[in-house]
């Protein structure tokens, strides 16, 4: 059944067309004319890893401020066109997207391009939007999984920009001046740092014409992510700041790149199922790509009814045994689960578009579009190799106990 489904789905997409505009901006067009919807997104080489202590939170603040001219007029106009528009700031990229019914793609794309090209950030809204972000940060602080994730980055990366919080710290946001915001905006929102991806049902020729408005941006200088510092591996125990006990693992796995990403996904899935069995626990995992294909970080947060220290012991034992414990059945189940996830993603123009955009940034334009095929081709031996990357000796471990 899986193979048959894969064949049908793979018959639909064509190869994405990638254009480079005269100012260096990249435009990736991936039409799927049977789709009922469309999605357009702009990925910008910006995010918390590009910051310093002095500019902590600036890219998140820019993401918010860009939507504010005219009291949110661009978003409201997109909605008046039957689409919805939003943005997210990550460590390595800022993402702006618009999505809606296929018939409305042209106006939605126009609004998205306008959002980026106008670079309109209203100075008189700075203090109000800082308040909104401080509320966002306060809500994130209620969530133990998010807090554990931040702590793991902080433990692993120390003073490096990679340890900075994606939303910014409260004090960082409060300190930011409008001048710092303008400087970061002008440095990062330039042709060399922009990737526009359009997916779903649309006319590629017209989309390219609209995309050419991005040429109004200066070429600018391509921004580079900072190198990863040496990771500070090890185990730290602390009193839990939340009601529950919790264990976090941060795996720095230098061998992960787009070439073995599919095998890694299956490896993680096979581990994830085992965590649930062992610890009666909640598992949250995030995979992250580094500055090149040289490394990735997986952070995992586990809570359960057992004391954190027992969960840690069980997980460590399980991880050591994982490469040899991968039975054919477990491999098959994990692969089927990942395939189901990929299939679900491929029906959503916004999800496939985001993957395509990341692929362009990572020099792998087939990342996303070929994922079903790649996952289907992964062998059990490749997953065993991937499991070896998640060695307990390469983990940053954080234990939150109640006492």
């Amino acid at each position: 059944m899986i193979a048959a489904t894969a064949a049908i789905l793979l018959a639909i997409p064509s190869t994405p067309a990638i254009h480079t505009l005269s100012n260096g901006a990249t435009v990736c067009l991936y039409p799927e004319q049977n789709s009922k919807g469309y999605a357009a997104q702009v990925l910008v080489r910006s995010g918390s890893a590009y910051q310093s202590a002095e500019t902590d939170g600036v890219h998140h603040l820019i993401e918010h401020l860009l939507f504010l001219p005219g009291n949110g007029e661009i978003q409201a106009t997109a909605e008046a066109n039957g689409s919805w528009m939003n943005g997210t700031t990550f460590r390595e990229v800022s993402r702006f997207y618009v999505a809606g019914p296929a018939s409305n793609w042209r106006e939605g794309l126009n609004q998205l391009v306008k959002l980026i090209v106008s670079k309109g950030i209203p100075e008189d809204k700075l203090s109000i939007e800082k308040r909104v972000i401080l509320e966002e940060i306060a809500i994130q602080d209620l969530d133990p999984d998010s807090a554990m994730d931040r702590e793991l980055w902080s433990k692993a990366f120390g003073e490096s920009p990679w340890a900075l919080r994606t939303s910014g710290s409260s004090s960082g946001i409060e300190r930011l001046s409008f001048e710092k915001v303008k400087t970061a905006l002008n440095d990062h929102y330039t042709g060399e740092n922009i990737v526009l991806v359009v997916t779903g049902s649309f006319d590629p020729a017209v989309a390219l014409q609209i995309a050419e408005q991005l040429n109004d941006l200066p070429r600018g200088k391509r921004m580079s992510l900072p190198s990863f510092p040496d990771i500070e591996y090890g185990r730290t125990a602390a009193t839990s700041p939340y009601d529950t006990e919790r264990v976090g693992f941060g795996f720095f796995a230098p061998g992960i790149g787009s070439s073995n990403y599919s095998a890694v996904r299956i490896a993680i899935e096979s581990i994830a199922g085992r965590y649930g069995t062992l610890a009666d626990s909640q598992l949250v995992s995030r995979v992250f790509f580094g500055p090149s294909e040289s490394g990735s970080l997986l952070t995992v947060s586990i809570s359960g009814k057992k004391p954190a220290i027992e969960i840690e012991k069980e997980v460590m034992e399980m991880l050591r045994a994982a490469p040899t414990a991968l039975t054919q059945e477990r491999f098959r189940n994990a692969k089927a689960a990942v395939l189901a996830n990929v299939r679900a993603t491929q029906r959503l123009p916004s999800a496939i578009g985001f993957q395509l955009g990341l692929g362009v940034l990572f020099r792998d334009p087939h990342f996303g579009t070929k994922e079903l095929e790649r996952v289907d081709a992964v062998t059990q031996e490749e997953v065993v190799e991937a499991l070896r990357l998640f060695s307990p000796e390469n983990a940053v471990v954080l234990i939150w106990s109640k006492r």
Binding site: K36, A80, N104
Partner: protein, 407 residues
């Protein structure tokens, strides 16, 4: 290409069994999937019954009167795809999506789950714990438990004792999940003739047994999660979905609380900077509809002024909602109706689009329970035809029903 597709498209067909159970079949020969969804209306049930149904949905995959846990899980594994059961707002939803070649097995599983679920004491206890944990894990959506509780206060959402008994759950299930309160929709790569042939012997023989009497036990209420945030909420009432006024009321809700261009988002977040999260939540009941508009914050010391501001905004809405507000809300609702992808409250009406077979199956069954599946295709026109004056009228009527809460 679209002309070719249009030429072979077949309108959904309705099969009605002798017991009154409607089955809508939307055959899509190109689909690699088929979705079977059973929706049973519970929009007239009390909060404690809704909670009991919510727990029952979480317990349903444990065993049936025919299959042990192991056999049921094996059957589910054989079916593949996805199997879901939930209290989806105003309905009990059971959905199976699989390959057309597995349709017969999926029909067997759906028949077992709807007609012969066991609800052992152990399964119910596990489901209660599971629900409690789930509510406690909504830290990134702190508004959710608050809105849920307010809905319970208003009598339109689940609230009640968290421990349920097998006999009571079975009786309640039999009272709600029965042929005359249920609609089944099957969308995807299985033709109507195959559907009818396969379902006649299972769903066609589903008997309209009278449900035994039951009473939800008084008991311990689930502990409220510890709150470190404040949520300000205001509810308004609206007409039932069968009313000619419903589309206008929905547009009114959209103008106030849906999207970044809504009046609430622009005022509470963009102008005042009070909250990061603003939103709205619907309850579609058999006699009337309800909307709760809400926003959440952590850093402010008190919420009295903020509650008043929200209420004042709703009172002033008749005058303040402009034609532009109405046009934006209509377009956004139509867009969401076509390609929406759901939200944090599960598969609920007017959060879902019509992209996937499971979305389409949900909507066909949902409308069938509200007068006929044909309205699914005409509802976009209803929204498009709403006039500014209609929305102002709904704003005026809604203002007379405002109830608010903050904590």
């Amino acid at each position: 290409m679209s002309g070719v597709l249009a030429a072979i498209a077949v309108a959904p067909q309705l099969i009605t069994f002798g017991n009154g159970l409607p089955v809508i079949v939307d055959y899509d020969p190109d689909s690699p999937f088929v979705t079977l969804v059973s929706l049973s209306r519970c929009d007239d049930q009390s909060p404690d019954r809704l909670l009991a149904l919510e727990i029952a949905c979480r317990a349903i995959m444990r065993e049936t009167q025919t299959f042990s846990t192991q056999r049921l899980q094996y059957l589910s594994w054989l079916v593949g795809g996805r199997v879901e059961a939930e209290l989806a707002g105003d309905t009990v939803r059971i959905e199976i999506t699989t390959a057309p070649s597995h349709f017969s097995l999926a029909a067997t599983l759906l028949s077992e789950l709807t007609q012969r679920a066991s609800f052992s004491q152990e399964a119910l206890a596990e489901a209660s714990k599971d629900l409690q944990k789930d509510l406690e894990r909504r830290e990134l959506m702190p508004w959710y438990p608050s809105v849920r509780e307010f809905r319970g206060d208003l009598g339109v959402g689940p609230r009640g004792p968290i421990s349920m008994r097998t006999d009571v759950t079975r009786a309640l299930w039999q009272h709600v999940v029965r042929p005359d309160r249920t609609a089944i929709a099957i969308v995807g790569g299985v033709p109507p003739s195959d559907v009818e042939r396969r379902l006649t012997s299972s769903f066609g023989l589903w008997e309209l047994d009278p449900a035994p009497g039951f009473r939800i036990p008084r008991g311990q209420f689930g502990p409220n999660p510890v709150r470190r945030h404040a949520t300000v909420m205001a509810s308004v009432e609206g007409p039932p979905v069968t009313s000619d006024r419903f589309a206008a009321w929905l547009v009114y809700c959209g103008a106030i609380g849906w999207g970044a261009g809504s009046k609430m988002h622009r005022m509470i977040r963009n102008e005042l900077g009070w909250a990061y999260q603003t939103g709205s939540s619907l309850s579609i009941r058999h006699d009337k509809s309800h909307a709760i508009f809400h926003f959440t914050f952590v850093r402010a010391p008190s919420f009295g002024e903020r509650e008043e501001t929200l209420k004042e905004m709703l009172v002033a809405a008749e005058q303040s909602i402009s034609e532009t507000d109405v046009d934006r809300a209509k377009s956004l609702l139509i867009g969401q109706y076509l390609v929406g992808s759901g939200g944090p409250e599960g598969t609920v009406p007017f959060g879902q689009g019509h992209v996937a077979v499971w979305d389409r199956a949900f909507w066909l069954a949902w409308w069938q329970l509200r007068g006929g599946f044909e309205r699914d295709s005409s509802f976009k026109e209803e929204l498009a035809n709403v006039a500014h004056e209609d929305v102002k009228r709904e704003a005026r009527l809604a203002a007379a029903t405002i109830k608010s809460k903050a904590h």
